[in-house]
């Protein structure tokens, strides 16, 4: 009897040593120039595989969709281009991946910020607009045009990475890369995940979303900006005017795909008619903070409570 008990103990110890016991793991990786937080429930050995997989996916997306990338023909690029084009049409051009020349003109790439003249803006606007892109065995850009995948590629990376973790058998967790997230299963308290949304002007959060099997993304005027002569200039440009889009401080979108949440949060931030866009995405909901700090909700409603 005693021998059997010892044998059982040894087997248990072996299982634990091999990392089969499931527990919560958290890790932070540096990707897309931002911190990517992963929290998953699995064995230690699965977690090692998960981290490698997330790193591999983010590295691939980062290199394919970096500002310097000249890849306009690979299937992944073409696929994301069509997803972006769809949102471009649905948002009447408010979401546009061709804003890169504007981002450069205002100094957001070099971090040498400057307010350009109207002539400079008008000249750069000639190189902005997805309708100017030609398609022929890939994407053909006009001279001077440049793509900025920043408002959609991170969402794609999170979708691919979370799908991959679910495929290896991880049934609960989240991936949060800066403003974009996907969460699935239940949290450690066996509830839906409680996702705080950062306050655009003060420390802390302004509210909490409780979701699962959903993505969420936030676009805010506080993420990258500079102040000149007392005026705040942020990095979310209206591709039609060439100026930072006015009227809002932050937009959060929640829905089935993080990629769409990512693109829609930018589209709604820029648009003067956000409801018109949301009507085309019935599975998605938005929380908008206007320039006065007032909250409004649009589209599908997800459980939300204001922070204390």
């Amino acid at each position: 009897m005693a021998k059997k008990f010892i044998l059982l103990l040894l087997i248990c110890a072996l299982f634990i040593c091999c990392g089969i016991e499931k527990k919560w793991h958290t890790s932070t990786l540096l990707v897309f120039d931002t911190l990517c937080q992963i929290r998953v429930f699995c064995s230690s050995s699965t977690f090692k595989t998960a981290k490698k997989e997330v790193n591999r996916i983010f590295t691939e997306i980062e290199s394919r969709f970096s500002p310097d990338s000249e890849d306009y023909a690979s299937p992944m690029v073409i696929d994301l281009y069509y997803r972006a084009l769809h949102v471009y049409h649905d948002s009447d051009g408010c979401f546009d991946i061709t804003v890169a020349p504007l981002t450069r003109l205002w100094g957001f790439l070099s971090k040498s910020y400057s307010v350009p003249t109207q002539d400079q803006i008008d000249s750069v606007l000639e190189q902005v607009g997805m309708e100017k892109i030609k398609e022929n065995n890939g994407i053909l850009l006009l001279p001077g045009m440049k793509l900025d995948w920043g408002a959609i590629a991170k969402g794609l990376a999170i979708d691919l990475a979370s799908r991959s973790l679910i495929e290896v058998g991880i049934s609960r967790g989240f991936i949060n890369a800066g403003g974009d997230l996907y969460c699935w299963g239940k949290n450690p308290d066996n509830q839906d995940w409680n996702i705080g949304i950062e306050h655009p002007r003060t420390e802390g959060i302004f509210g909490i979303l409780s979701i699962s099997e959903r993505g969420a993304a936030t676009t805010g005027d506080y993420q990258r900006f500079f102040i000149r002569d007392g005026i705040r200039y942020h990095h979310i440009f209206d591709p039609r005017t060439g100026y930072p889009a006015p009227g809002k401080q932050s937009v959060t979108v929640c829905g089935p795909e993080t990629l769409i949440c990512d693109a829609l949060s930018t589209a709604l931030f820029v648009s003067k008619e956000p409801k018109k866009i949301m009507d085309k995405y019935p599975e998605y909901g938005a929380i908008i903070v206007d320039s006065e700090g007032n909250l409004s909700f649009m589209g599908k409603s997800y459980p939300f409570r204001p922070a204390e």
Binding site: L35, Q37, R39, K111, S112, Y113, F174, N176, G178, G179, D180, L181, C183, N187, P188, D189, W193, N194, I195, G196, I197, E198, H199, P200, E203, G204, I205, I208, A216, A217, T218, G220, Y222, R224, F225, F226, I227, R228, G230, R232, S250, T252
Partner: protein, 244 residues
Amino acid sequence: MDRRDFFKTMLATPLLTPLILSSKKTTHDLELYLIAENPQLFLSTLLEKIQEYSSTGGRKFAFLNSHPNEKSIKKSLLQKGWRFVQEPVSTNLVLSFSHLHHKALPSFTLVREGRIWDIRSQKLFLLWREMNENHELSSCLTMVSFKNRPSNHLAGEFVSVYKEGRKLATLPLKENVKRSFKTQTGNITAHIRNGSAWVAESSCRHKICLHSPPVSLAGERIICAPNHFFLEIGRSSSIDTVIG
């Protein structure tokens, strides 16, 4: 000026080295160490330029301790549209004063995320060179800390006080209190007011902890290395993560 000379001049003051090393442990976006007899002559220009290069928001400032040039600094910053606030907790730009043991060449050093920011290719370098060449030696060190915009940080609920890795106390941030703790070099006093905590008095040598701006967000710390002592903000939260 070659790279070696540039860094050598900035690091010439022995007091700056521990300060710069300590800034690696803090969560401040940017720190400015200005050695000048009359810091008010340079501060407003410096702050304007820094705002151009860095997304340090807000135009409010406060003093953490008394500064011999406080009046003139206030006057020069107010003229440039900055707003003075009494409470260091309600601003992300905090000025403090320290007296250097030896006089040094006037200069300024910028430390961004724990690393010296090489400004030789920026407009700021002209100002740096002018200061370095044309002004009298000074022992007046003005430190300016730009507190980082919180990312993934939540407002704290309590501050835990540790010495030698052992928790000495947990104090709620809601209460306004001052508590002293015995340390290797004497005493250290933690001050809590309006949801923020900071070190109000310390018997340590360089007083780095004393010049650390108040902390209020979960995870933020103030460290006093000589005393093996630190404060850490915590919260008992039901939030799993934060986006934004």
